[in-house]
């Protein structure tokens, strides 16, 4: 019988959202559109319109050794062209952001190829070949994985995910890369590491509190769904914890 991944436990809406994001058969809902130029400006790795700088010659030119694995695994477009490895990093507020670091890594591993995600408590970085990255970044920013107010594209000085929001609902950012403009649209005024941009880059309207509560993948007892309200999830986490703790003693499940 073919293996069917379950993606995660839980009966709550948060658990369902987590599963939907991880499942590559579920199409992510496109909410906003951002131009190529805008994405490139925010990431700040190359100037818009500039050719992709390369780290090595294209694979077709450099003559690959005869290797069975290379015959099985097809290179991504970026790898084929010899692009540099570049990154995009996100910080997600604990106050009902639609995604969060561990979740990002899980879903990216299920949905994308040729990536190297790095997961920390308050931020998650994804590294890959530059032209692949731009495609993946588009998916991460344009869909329901992103909210302009509670998710931030932050390369450095990421602090803010666990803090209260500002009066206008924006997540704290010491470098204030994005602002909520007078027209109600969030605009990036600095790239992800804090260099000022020549123009404001609009990324979309912040989602309202009801949408965030419905689409979040973060448990929160005060502003969202409490973790303890999802009995199945609690049981699963307790079981994993017990098995990990007793691992050295060769545990046998009753």
């Amino acid at each position: 019988m073919a293996y069917t991944p379950q993606y995660g436990p839980g009966t709550s809406k948060v658990a369902a959202n987590r599963r939907n994001q991880m499942n590559p058969n579920v199409k992510l809902e496109k909410i906003r559109s951002v131009t190529d130029e805008d994405l490139i400006l925010i990431m700040g790795h190359r100037a818009p319109g500039q050719a992709y700088p390369s780290a090595h010659p294209p694979l077709a030119e450099q003559g690959e050794p005869d290797c069975p694995i290379r015959k099985i695994v097809k290179p991504t477009e970026g790898a084929k062209a010899g692009d540099r490895v570049r990154y995009i990093q996100f910080a997600d507020s604990m106050l009902n952001a639609p995604c969060q670091p561990y979740q990002r890594t899980y879903l990216e591993m299920y949905r994308f190829r040729g990536i190297d995600p790095g997961t920390l408590s308050g931020r998650q970085i994804i590294e890959c070949r530059e032209r692949d990255l731009e495609g993946y970044a588009r998916e991460l920013v344009e869909t329901n994985l992103f909210d302009p107010a509670t998710c931030g594209i932050r390369g450095a000085t990421v602090h803010g995910h666990s803090l209260r929001l500002a009066e206008n609902g924006m997540m704290f950012d010491a470098v204030q890369r994005c602002i909520l403009d007078t027209d109600g649209i969030v605009k990036y005024v600095k790239d992800q590491v804090g260099n000022p941009l020549d123009r404001k880059v609009a990324i979309g309207k912040p989602m309202d509190a009801a949408w965030l509560k419905e689409n979040t993948t973060m448990f929160h007892s005060l502003v969202g769904t409490a973790f303890r309200s999802d009995e199945e999830y609690v049981k699963y986490v307790q079981r994993i914890h017990a098995l990990r703790t007793k691992y050295g003693f060769m545990p046998k499940e009753a």
Partner: protein
Amino acid sequence: MTEPTYPQLRIVPMRFLNPETVEILLDRLFKAGGIRRLVLNGPSIPATVPYGPARGAANPTTYRRAIQICGEEYILGVQVGTILLELEDSSMIPDIKAVCDEVFADKFPYGITEGIYMRSNMTTTDYAKYGIVEDERILGMADPKSKQRPIILQGNR
């Protein structure tokens, strides 16, 4: 020697405050009178980018700016999340609560609690870190060696 103990309050709004709101709140608090010491707490907004490739570059933000408090100018280096107060006596507490109710009424909820939030005496650690501190009013408020000095507001009694 018996040290006088003054009532202390902590105001915690549900959101981080804009400099404009801080100005309004402080202005009203000082007009209410009876405040000995006040600390604005919150995450730092650095003057320059602290980490990464842009380290050292200027960090223009709307949150780090000079605010006016009773005619005095003060550079707000944090996004204010908590306000600590030390009062002359506890009779002022209802007035402070009324001011907060008024300022936060149409914005968001806030919490106000009474307790001990600032030290009044030097600890051994203070002595090891700072040596002899001439003006002990700064203890428990900020680093006495900080370049940015606290402001002292006169004439609010």
